[in-house]
């Protein structure tokens, strides 16, 4: 009896292998060496290696593991965004109380595990790998949200995310079952063919399956009306983890959203396009209106993320190459815009007794210009003002939407942006137009986000390079790609072309 070993494309699997090894190494490093020392460095090295391996595979699309994964430029682009977000999160986690309490090794290993899930999810081309990846991504995050164990909100955030996340996963799985029933296949490509051959296009059960999958993914991407967990979880989780979730989870979930809906369900596009368009519009309204009255910066960014998810979903709604490119471009821009803001929030959280309250950034323009500028640029970019990547991103999305005959959704984006100015500019006004607030020494900081057992204050946090550096870097990126967008446009076009 002869046994032929399956051929394994190690080159294309190398990013996944590297991350898997890294998870184990980082976890073991906590056992071998005293905590706090090695783990962040090792994590950064692992992320850099993975990024390098991904770039090495750029522009050579291959199908792996008998069709379960597909490493194309879309997958690579999204993975790179997730990895960059993770690298920022590692820097922001230096001296983060949550990382110390959970154990630095475990904390970073979980982070890497989540990244592994994202890299897999971006490549998933099969219902099984899709579901396994999305769980690999989520489970470490449930734990990471709860790592700041002395703060009740952190625990609450973890539990909430676990429950809502499981609900989302269950819905997703249920939907997958319907689709498997309709097509008899788990492979994305064969689902499309199967539904077509069985003559089930427009069949109610298949449509239910599509709807359930869409709802499951809407939970992950925090699209209204499945967004309720977002502000609470964002607020409660340790801020570096929030920043990572806001950018990376969204990117990875959108990657599979796009791939699944276009590759597997492209034949049904006429049915789901209008529904997703409505979801996008609802998200834009709910997110922007919800953010208006928020005093907590993390909640504000949470709601803003809901609105931004609505904009991004527009790129999928049109189901065109330009749409997917616009989506990838926006996600890449979102990385810069959002991380600049979160870096500043982390710095101010540690520096002032106000936690993530908007009062923490009052008078920042005079006190800490190096933090004030990134925050300002981030807010202006999120609001889509010109000379930032946010403007080009909106331009790209609107162009794709108008081209795809969804001009009304483009108008919605414009209207949403107007509403959003009211809260983004409120932060800018707090930075530049209000004097700073000094907390009375010794007074109990009874403010949102800062329980009596609050984390210790580090009065120099606003000067530390590992906080100011990421903030400046992300802000510089947001401005640079607003003025010289062509490289990022080409990157996004490459990614978008891989599905068509």
């Amino acid at each position: 009896m002869t046994f032929t070993a399956p051929e394994i494309d190690y080159a294309a699997l190398s990013p996944v292998i590297a991350l898997t090894v890294a998870v184990c190494v980082v976890l073991m490093s906590a056992v071998i060496r005293p905590p706090r020392r090695g783990a962040p460095g090792l994590t950064l090295i692992a992320l850099a290696t993975t990024a390098g391996l991904l770039i090495w595979n750029w522009n050579e699309p291959v199908t792996l593991v008998s069709g379960a994964l597909r490493l194309d430029d879309l997958a690579i682009a999204i993975s790179l965004i997730a990895i960059a977000a993770a690298a920022f999160a590692v820097l922001l986690s230096i001296r983060e109380p949550a990382a110390d309490q959970a154990g630095s090794g475990e904390y970073h290993a979980l982070l890497l595990g989540s990244v592994l899930g994202m890299v897999l999810l971006a490549q998933a081309q099969n219902l099984v790998s899709f579901f396994v990846a999305i769980e690999t991504l989520s489970i470490p995050l449930y734990i990471l949200c709860a790592t700041n164990m002395v703060r009740e909100q952190s625990l609450e955030s973890g539990l909430k995310y676990l429950i809502v996340g499981s609900l989302g996963s269950a819905t997703l799985l249920y939907g997958m079952a319907f689709l498997y029933g309709g097509s008899g296949s788990t492979d994305f490509g064969r689902i499309a063919a199967g539904i077509d051959q069985a003559g089930l296009i427009g069949d109610p059960l298949v449509l239910i399956g599509i709807a359930l999958v869409a709802v499951g993914l809407a939970f992950k991407t925090s699209i209204a009306p499945f967004h309720q967990w977002t502000p609470d979880v964002y607020e409660g989780a340790p801020t570096p983890i929030t920043s990572f979730m806001a950018v990376a989870t969204k990117a990875a979930a959108f990657a599979v959203f796009v791939r699944f809906f276009i590759v597997a369900l492209g034949g049904e596009a006429g049915d789901w396009q209008p529904a997703l368009a409505v979801l996008a519009a609802v998200s834009i309204v709910v997110g922007n209106v919800g953010a208006l009255g928020q005093d907590s910066l993390k909640r504000l960014l949470g709601y803003s993320g809901i609105a931004q998810a609505g904009y991004i979903l527009g790129g999928l709604v049109v189901t065109s190459e330009a749409g997917v490119s616009a989506l990838v471009f926006y996600l890449a821009g979102y990385l810069f815009m959002n991380l600049a803001a979160f870096s500043v929030v982390v710095a101010r959280e540690r520096e002032t007794p106000f936690g993530d309250d908007i009062r923490a950034v009052r008078g920042l323009g005079e006190e800490r210009p190096l933090l004030a500028w990134p925050m300002t640029i981030s807010m202006l970019a999120l609001a889509g003002l010109p000379a930032t990547v946010g403007f080009i991103g909106k331009l790209y999305l609107i162009e794709a939407l108008v081209e795809g005959d969804y001009t009304w959704l483009a108008v919605f984006i414009a209207v949403g942006t107007m509403i959003s100015l009211a809260y983004y500019l409120r932060v800018v006004a707090a930075i530049w137009m209000r004097p700073g607030e000094k907390a009375a020494p010794g007074a109990a900081p009874a403010i949102a986000g800062a329980a009596p057992e609050a984390d210790p204050i580090d009065p120099d946090a606003g000067r530390r390079l590992y906080l100011v550096g990421p903030a400046l870097l992300a802000a510089a990126g947001a401005v640079f790609f607003g003025i010289v967008p062509q490289p990022l446009v080409e990157f996004a076009q490459h990614a978008g072309a891989s599905l068509f």
Binding site: S325, G365, E366, L380, G384, L385, P386, A387, F391, I392, K394, L395, Y396, I398, E399, V402, E403, T407, A410, V411, I413, A414, V415, T417, M418, L421, A422, L425, R426, V428, A429, W432, M433, R434, P485, Q486, V489, E490, Q493
Partner: protein
Amino acid sequence: MINSLLWTPLIFGLAGLALPKRLAGWWAALGAAATLALAIALLAGFDSGAPGLQDSYDASWIPGLGVRYSLGIDGLNVFLVLLTAVVWLGGTAFAAFREQERPHLFFLMLLLGETATLGAFLAQDLLLFVLFFDLMLVPFYFLFGAWGSDREGGPTASAATLKMIVYTLIGSLLMLVGAIATAIIAADGGQVSFSIAELARQPLGEGSQRWIFWFFAAAFLVKMPAFLLHGWMPDAYRAAPLPVLAVFSGVLAKVGAYGFLRVVLPLFPDATIEFQEVVLVIALASILYGSVMAFTQTNLRLIGGYSSVAQLGFITAGIFALRADGADGAVLQMVNHGLVVAPLFIIVAILAERSGSEDLREMGGMAMRAPVLAALFLIVTLATLAMPGSANFVGEFYILNGLFQEKIVFAFVAISGVAMSAYYALRLYQRTMHNRRPEGVASREIGLGDGLVLVPLVLCIIGLALYPQLVLKRTDAAVSEAVASVQPEAPAKADGITFSTGYARGER
């Protein structure tokens, strides 16, 4: 050349960050002066007869999205660019003579505003135009919000500014959608191009024009501001620091009117004809409302602000007469109004320093010991009310002339605005400079520094009054072309005039 003109202010602004605080203002003024020198050089090389772009720069910017970095100068914008440079130098120098908080940031924002405004005037790519149009807001948001004054019992400076931003962006974001829609519908599946000249060559179908027209019109009418869309103006004007308000009112409002000529008329000719009367009604309402408000207000800033509403109503009416005459007059009037309103706000600042108030009721008698100030103010006042002999008279004359030929009823209503402007301008002058001097109001001659700012601006007014064809001669060809795109059958200007002054043809 055109590139260095655009970026000089910003480069100076950024370089100024490295200088010590007390030099920041002077450095910025130097930057504004350098920009002015470039603008004058550009004008010197301008050939008055040619309608097309004379100096242009075109480079690929975002090929993936069809956006080009394309600048150009022609008869439509050459004087607006010059106006921008002149007024900005005045405003910057005036601010430099006074102590500013956080001067680095103040002057950086002021100069960023100049670059953005010049960009909006120079852009020949529709999307680049939208980008600069929106970018103009950012520096003024900071300038109004952070250096403005909170009003007792009213909104704070940042709240007033937020209102302004939301109002203006409502227009501009819709304009962004409209611009993209224009290009994509025009491309019809082919290569997307945002070049204004290319888009003008084959206008869209009437149905698309109709809604896109209003997206653009909303942006421009809010910016001016026109009647019903002026809600942001009173609060923002009361909050703004005065030197900034001088450039804001002097130049930014004109970008809206310019947008009609540059974008709306050539790109949406059918819709323009269709909605001509609607816009004319808005323009007339602005004239009447602005004038009436200007002579009932007692706050000096608001008198200036509402008079601008009225003046921009005139300019809009001139453009929407859709006659070469009217549009010629509108362009001249844009320059005139900018040159008049900027010194007006600077004078308001000077008067406020002398009386400690910005209220007309608490002023008076300030001419007594300040003959030079009184004389300068008088010239500005007379120019505001379009005294015959001033360039404003010529501008209004052309506008009304165009309007008479096209819509005689509208012209009669517009004339009442001319009469009312005499009332509010003279009221402003008398109540501040003449009458009895109340306690606590000083009558003091203007200082050397302020004089250095004000006298050249007033000299510009006088110069233009003596020689308005400086503008008319150079703008006529381009303006006629813009208007001709709407009504190709309209008779050429020379035969259309029944009571010509000969200004435009230089026959005086």
